[in-house]
């Protein structure tokens, strides 16, 4: 239904979210968005709105879980945390990503 470009982005986004939760611990949606933005030095500029359906999908997969809590300024916020299945998935995705980027790098260097 959605254009295939979004699909590619989705997978990457999934990995970023999982990685963020892995390093930072439980976070709310806004925090995850900020973190991804900071880490990527504002280069990865995603529509923050797309984060929420992605969070839902990851939750449906059982890779993250969520619960309501109080934010740093004491407001009600939904916190997401990595599940054990999510941690495994992250490991798989990181390995896959490294492999692919290594291959692509090799190809790019070889042809230039």
């Amino acid at each position: 239904m959605r254009p295939s470009r979004a699909e590619v982005l989705q997978g990457t986004l999934d990995m970023l979210v999982l990685k963020t939760l892995d390093t930072m611990g439980p976070m709310h949606g806004f925090g995850i968005a900020q973190r991804i933005r900071q880490i990527s030095d504002d280069l990865l500029c995603l529509n923050q709105g797309t984060l929420y359906p992605a969070l839902l999908r990851l939750e449906q997969y059982g890779w993250i879980s969520s619960q309501w809590g109080a934010s740093e300024n004491n407001r009600k916020a939904k916190f997401y945390s990595l599940t054990r299945a999510g941690r495994k998935q992250l490991g798989r995705e990181e390995a896959g990503w490294e492999q692919i980027s290594a291959v692509i790098n090799r190809v790019l260097k070889a042809t230039s």
């Binding site: 923050q48 929420y52 359906p53 839902l56 890779w63 309501w68 009600k76």
Partner: protein, 895 residues
């Protein structure tokens, strides 16, 4: 993949239970925006600017909500569920439409399912054995005629051929007398050869099943019982295995129980007791004969040897059979028969569905009925399509609005098809319910004694679902296409005047309906006339007011000294006693009764002539037989009690016999002999009887020879049927006869029944076809009439203004009625024109089921056309009259 399954389950759950809205999401999003605004404010932006940036970063709140919602559930599933709910609402809102549509579909699908259940149970259901697809049935082709019946020696010889068959067994239905000879209980069962159970590869529920060793001469008396019999008689006690039953007066040990669900290889018969053929060798001499060549009453099932395909097995059989064929004849087999048997060939056919004589009799009628009911279903479909069309004209504005505000055509069509599918599934559900009763009713029409499970099963259910989906698409497609064909705006503009095209489509649908019902009416006419022709045949005897009672002398008289004489005396006493019963006007005794399906036949030689080429029918009859059946004696005399073993051999022949063998000669005093028999030598013809149909009503009268019952040796005739003609109440006389016989023949199993029932049951198939074809014909007529009425009613409503003008200009009401009726006759004429060649083509397939008329029968066709026209005129008259009563002023003001 587990995470995907988990996700799918969650999404389906959310869709079905409509947990789509997510109140938490809005809180979450608000929190996100607030945090973003705060962070921009901290960076020193003005409040409005901070808000703008925050929202821009987010990129569309509403879009996020929608994507979130889609992710939450399954959008496809949800729109489908939405269509379903909407469809149900629409159907509930139009109750009369829904009821009409569902009812016609239920009748169509119900009829199809009922007939399919029977067809499945009789022809298609596999035996409950492992790998039924491997089983083959052995057939024999004798002088070009295929047969599936074999004698015991052939079964044994074939089962030795391990190079062709892994295991091979013969079987034949039988009923056994269980218990003491004074009060035996008839128990249905079967004879099987030693290879039968090994071929079926059944696992016993208890004990063991019969093995080849149990079917050798000198083996002990053993039997296998069915699971149901184990339950009924032994309450599933393990001690049943090893118990002894008195069967045919002999002690038989039960060695095992067949698994539940298995009732024997004869479809429709329950074998509670299964005994090896060799048990026959311990019974009376006439039953010992059943083990000899020439007595072909068993069927064969086998599994080809491991690794052998059916083709390979067939090829090997062709090679080995000529050298084996000798086992199928005995020294007394007539020469012609012997030659035919020795040059016979064997063939294999699929055997996984077991065997039933009903199959050869009913596979064609059931297939024809299946086709007829499919036509009815098609008719029901066109009817519903017409109804949908009428309704879609009314709903045109609704569709136009939906299309105009942006619903895709596909979406609206999907909605319409969903409604059609809903209708057909409702129809199928009701249809299954109807079929549940219908198939049982059908079964009793096919046979009173058959024991067949025609209940719901997976195959029937699949059939009904397939029928529902197919019909739903069939009748839903055209109206759905039509309703959505015009674009939104155009449709809105022309919504009120879009009747023309609809009229054409509806008109052709009605023409199709007329053609279909025309076909079905012709079919009904042909089958009704066939039954009528059979019923009005003069069979050469009268069955009305005649009772029949079987007497099995062999079972009543115990073996011992002078048993034969005692059997003869028993028959004599019984005949005398019955003749004396009050109300009895005549009584006779014979070994076979006409139209029972059984008779003796032998080649006959008239003295001084060569033997007859074909077999002639023989009946052994007592004095009184001819008068009990009101068969006229054309010349000579009836048998008397003096025509017995001590008297000179006598015979009575029928007129057909005289025509064939003694034309222009006085038959009385001529001598005839059976060509290949030790019996019936030099019999003097003492009388000539009228012709009769000996075997079936369909067959023309054949030459018959009647021989004196009491002249036959009782070791050949141990069984007789009394024919009793009575005046007054048959029931009262039957009760008297029953009392009399139980005095003369104590312990006899009496089954006194009217002869008429036997004659009628020989027309069971024709009656079934006539009844069902008429039922479907009338149904078709009603459906077509409804369709035509709808078409004309619509046309009248459409042309109210035109009719008003015509009346205002002075048209007579009669002329208006004629005009409207003529309009309705177009599709009728078109339908008949389509139907005629279709009838010519299709009726050829049923010609073998007909009697006394050609398949393309002008009288039947004329009657069908007349009926259709009359019904069409009647259906059209009501709307046509309404047109004639139009008040010009109101009609003109309407638009």
């Amino acid at each position: 993949m587990s995470h995907r399954l988990r996700s799918l389950a969650l999404r389906i759950f959310a869709s079905v239970f409509r947990h789509r809205s997510q109140p938490g999401l809005d809180d979450e999003l608000r929190f996100h925006i607030d945090m973003a605004v705060e962070s921009y404010l901290r960076q020193g932006l003005a409040s409005a600017e901070a808000h703008r940036h925050a929202l821009a970063d987010f990129g569309g709140l509403q879009q996020t909500r929608e994507h979130y919602r889609d992710q939450k559930g399954l959008p496809m599933l949800e729109t489908t569920l939405q269509d379903l709910r909407y469809g149900l609402r629409v159907l509930a809102a139009n109750r009369s439409f829904t009821a009409m549509a569902v009812l016609s579909l239920a009748l169509g699908i119900g009829a199809n399912t009922a007939i399919f259940s029977l067809l499945y149970a009789l022809l298609l259901r596999p035996l409950p054995v492992p790998n039924p697809g491997e089983l083959v049935q052995v057939n024999i082709i004798i002088a070009g005629k295929p047969s599936d019946s074999f004698s015991y020696p052939v079964i044994q010889a074939l089962s030795e051929r391990k190079d062709v068959f892994a295991a091979l067994g013969g079987f034949a239905g039988n009923s056994f007398a269980v218990g003491p000879p004074s009060a035996p209980v008839r128990t249905p069962g079967a004879w099987v050869s030693g290879g039968f159970f090994p071929a079926l590869q059944l696992t016993p529920a208890a004990g063991r099943l019969l093995m080849p060793e149990d079917d050798r001469p000198g083996a002990g008396f053993v039997a296998v019982i069915s699971d149901a019999y184990w339950e009924r008689r032994f309450e599933r006690s393990p001690s049943a295995v090893g118990a002894t039953l008195l069967i045919e007066g002999l002690p038989v040990t039960i060695i095992g129980v067949t698994p539940a669900g298995f009732t024997g290889a004869n479809v429709g018969e329950i074998a509670d007791l299964t005994l090896p053929y060799q048990f026959l060798s311990h019974l009376s001499p006439d039953r010992q004969g059943l083990l000899q060549a020439g007595n072909q009453y068993s069927r064969i099932l086998a599994r080809p040897a491991r690794g052998l395909s059916i083709e390979q097995a067939r090829a090997r059989l062709k090679v080995i059979w000529p050298a084996m064929a000798q086992v199928s004849v005995n020294p007394r087999t007539p020469q012609k028969r012997r030659e035919a048997m020795l040059s016979s060939t064997l063939d294999l056919s699929a055997g996984g569905t077991g065997w039933t004589p009903l199959r050869s009799q009913y596979s064609k009628p059931l297939t024809v009925l299946m086709a007829i009911s499919a036509l009815v279903l098609l008719l029901a479909c066109t009817n519903v399509a017409n109804l949908l069309l009428a309704r879609s004209a009314a709903r045109r504005r609704e569709f136009a609005i939906r299309l105009a505000i942006g619903a895709g055509r596909a979406r609206v069509m999907r909605q319409l098809l969903m409604e059609s599918l809903l209708l057909s599934f409702l129809g199928a559900t009701l249809g299954l319910f109807l079929a549940h009763y219908g198939s049982r009713l059908l079964l009793t029409q096919v046979s009173q004694t058959i024991r067949l499970d025609v209940g719901l099963n997976l195959a029937v259910l699949e059939f009904a679902i397939a029928a529902a989906v197919l019909t739903g698409l069939l009748f839903g497609a055209a109206p759905a296409l039509r309703s959505t064909s015009a674009g939104g705006a155009t449709a809105l503009r022309t919504a009120s005047s879009a009747g023309q095209a609809r009229g054409r489509l509806a008109g052709s649908l009605v023409a199709v309906q007329v053609a279909l019902s025309f076909l079905l009416l012709i079919g009904a006419g042909l089958f009704v006339r066939t039954l009528h022709n059979l019923e009005t045949i003069d069979p050469g005897f009268r069955h009305e007011g005649v009772l029949m009672a079987d007497l099995d002398g062999r079972r009543i008289v115990h073996a011992g000294p002078a048993a034969d004489a005692r059997v003869a005396a028993l028959f004599r006493d019984a005949l005398e006693a019955v003749t004396a019963v009050h109300g009895v006007t005549a009584a006779g005794l014979s070994n076979f009764t006409p139209i029972s399906g059984g008779y003796w036949s032998q080649a006959v030689q008239v003295k001084g002539q060569p033997p007859s080429e074909d077999d002639i029918v023989f009946f052994a009859v007592s004095p009184g037989f001819f008068s009990a059946l009101s068969m006229p004696l054309r010349s000579g005399r009836d048998f008397t009690l003096r025509d017995d073993a001590t008297g000179p051999p006598a015979a009575i022949v029928n007129q057909e016999f005289v025509r064939r063998f003694l034309p222009g000669v006085n038959p009385l005093g001529q001598a005839i002999s059976a060509a290949d028999s030790r019996y019936w030598k030099n019999m003097e013809i003492v009388g000539v009887a009228g012709d009769s149909h000996p075997y079936t009503l369909r067959e023309a009268p054949r030459p018959c020879v009647y021989v004196p019952f009491f002249q036959q040796s009782p070791d050949r005739i141990g069984f007789g049927t009394l024919e009793v003609k009575a005046a007054g109440s048959l029931n009262a006389v039957a009760a008297d006869i029953s009392r009399t016989l139980s005095r003369v023949a104590p312990g006899a199993e009496l089954r006194i029944r009217p002869f008429t029932a036997q004659v009628e049951s020989s027309m069971r198939r024709e009656r079934l076809m006539a009844r069902l074809a008429s039922f479907f014909g009338i149904l078709a007529l009603v459906l077509a009439a409804v369709g035509l009425y709808g078409l004309l009613a619509y046309a009248v409503a459409q042309r109210t203004a035109e009719v008003g003008i015509r009346i205002a200009l002075g048209a007579e009401p009669g002329a208006v009625v004629r005009m409207m009726l003529a309009r309705g006759m177009y599709p009728v004429a078109a339908g008949i024109l389509i139907g005629l060649p279709a009838a010519w083509w299709t009726t050829r397939f049923i010609s073998t089921l007909l009697y006394g008329l050609k398949a393309f029968d002008p009288l039947t066709i004329a009657a069908a056309i007349a009926t259709l026209t009359a019904v069409a005129l009647a259906a059209g008259f009501i709307p046509a009259r309404r047109a004639a009563k139009v008040d010009p002023m109101t009609s003109l003001r309407q638009d």
